[in-house]
Amino acid sequence: MLDVRNLSVTFGSGEKSLNVCSDVSFSLAKGKVLGLIGESGSGKTVTCKALLSLLPDNASVTADRMNFGGQELLSLDRRDFNKLRGTELAMIFQDPVGSFNPVKTIGWHFRHAGKRRRDGFGPKSDVMAAAEESLRKVEIANPGQALRKYPHQLSGGMLQRCLIALTLFCKPSLIVADEPTTNLDNLVERQIIDIFDKLRHEIDASFIFITHDMTIAEQISDEIAVMYAGQIVEHGETAEVMSRPRHPYTRALIKTARELEGDVDYLTEIPGDVTSGLNRHGQCRFGPRCPLHDAACNHTIHMRHVQGHGNVRCIKPLIREEAA
């Protein structure tokens, strides 16, 4: 369905260039959900925007392969990509308020999106009926009324659900959800996650779900990819990654998440911050923050496959694994 090999994104050029994403490879089968985890600045949003060709002009994107449903995305020109975006590839953004036109009704957005649908629509009443159906899927109680509302008249949770409905309206086959619950409170977050959980079984689409919350990723995704400083550091089946994380970074993230659920006096910290990992070419990017770091890590670390687990970008876990 989606196959990405060696994706690399660089902003700017020359000496001031900043490599924000390098050597990113993953593939996603039809109907699967990939949870993309990492802190801010780790390149998860950039990776997904590169997929949808939404990056600004000063970003240069290179990849050995970026194949989506048989089409090579990098070779498409702007017009062909516009046909694809919204109808085949779609993205749900973090901030629902900013995603809607504030002076237009929700219904207008559906009419507008409906024009892009491949199978087309007849009269306005058909579009509205389909829109209501779509809103009902995300459990909006009174869809007819919601369609006549303006974005500011709806609460954040309602609006996020409308946005999801709007995205589904065009029946895309790959949906990228960029931290769709970060700005919402616990009850609403739970509700949105439940809706996603239901939809992934109902509709025929693959999801990439970006989040920095391990517990959410665990609940919703089939596979987890952990990103750090522009690289995927661990990638595998959700249950396997959560129960037996191999990379020290993943291990620390999961530990903190578990501690918050449990009962401890102080949480385990990862010292330092992610900026220490940028521009560390030819050595492990997590090095400055890693408890296991030593001289052996001072070379380019490649992804390696671990039998029955997935891929890990660390030389240490295997050694530890053998010792244990």
């Binding site: 954040g156 919402l184 616990n186 009850l187 998440a257």
Partner: protein
């Protein structure tokens, strides 16, 4: 003896609009904080939880004089609160927008020191000490906010709040914009500062995991009303209010589809006298539609505003 006492506090947001729509009842004033009373003990971390619009930020701002109270009192050690002596301080959600982008971190930290009369000769040393208190080095002095990561910036915001030696620190969603790994650093810092600076912290959050980790007591708010307050352990062990039960239910991964999202309270339409939670409550009784319940004691320092709660439900 509680260090801060909210007594029947009311903050009203006035409806603006034409006389006619006011008379029609299309618009009306709304109490964003509606007759809330509770005390904050010295040295404790009190968590205020609730969804957006529940008035948790408003009540903090009222204590700091950023919102006018339309009724009730807030006292500090039995005295009316003094707003100018720096004994109450606040840390906001977004550190980037709460610091001046054109001032270096040292300059930002100097302002409160200067305003509160620190002699010029001591200011530089105090800035260093403040940075050290929040675990930052001297190198940060000359950086600008955009050159510093989010977690470090939130520490700077905390350092600035500490500059006036506050006795009570209000933290409004201080970690909700931060990543999980950085969040742990800031949460640990707050816990340590409570001990080292003998701080009292009022921590506003919508994240129940964070509340459970950090707070000694938790207050649950819902559209201006305080529904339940008590020690964290008790609240998590025995939530008395139906809303608290739903809220805590969201933490349980296996309990699917519980949070019935019936109509939430709408201040423009709904009865302001009746129980605020009646639209969503599964146990709604006739008296709930008459008056919002008063707080009643349910043991171990926990009180709840609900008619449904009684000894009988506890036995169950």
């Amino acid at each position: 003896m509680s260090i801060l006492e909210f007594h029947d506090a009311v903050v009203t947001f006035k409806a603006r609009g034409a006389m006619m729509s006011r008379l029609n009842g299309n618009m009306r004033d709304f109490n964003a904080v509606d007759h809330v009373s509770f005390g904050v003990q010295e040295g404790e971390i009190l968590g205020i939880v609730g969804e957006s619009g529940s008035g948790k930020t408003t009540i903090c701002k009222a204590a700091l004089g950023l919102h006018k109270m339309s009724g009730g009192t807030i006292t500090e050690n039995g005295q009316p609160i003094r707003l100018n002596d720096g004994s109450l301080q606040m840390v906001f959600q977004d550190p980037l927008s709460s610091l001046n982008p054109r001032q270096t971190i040292a300059q930002s930290l100097e302002v409160p020191l200067r305003l509160h009369g620190t002699p010029k000769s001591e200011i530089s040393g105090r800035v260093d000490r403040l940075l050290a208190d929040v675990g930052l080095t001297r190198q940060f002095r000359n950086r600008f906010p955009h050159q510093v990561s989010g977690g470090q910036l939130q520490r700077v915001a905390i350092a600035r709040a500490l500059a006036t030696n506050p006795r009570v620190l209000f933290a409004d969603e201080a970690v909700s914009k931060l990543d999980v790994s950085v969040r742990a650093q800031v949460l640990n810092l707050l816990k340590r500062l409570r001990d080292s600076h003998k701080l009292t912290i009022i921590f506003v959050t919508h994240d129940l995991h964070v509340a459970r980790f950090l707070c000694d007591r938790i207050a649950v708010m819902y559209f201006g009303k305080l529904l339940e307050i008590g020690p964290t352990k008790e609240i998590f062990r025995k939530p008395c209010h139906p809303y608290t039960q739903v809220l805590l239910g969201t933490l349980d991964k296996d309990q699917a589809r519980h949070a019935s999202m019936r109509d939430i309270f709408n201040p423009m339409r709904d009865d302001l006298v009746a129980c605020r939670y009646q639209n969503r409550c599964p146990h709604v009784m006739p008296q709930c539609r008459q008056r919002h319940p008063a707080h009643r004691d349910c043991g171990a320092g926990q009180t709840v505003a609900c008619y449904f709660y009684s000894e009988a439900t506890e036995v169950e």
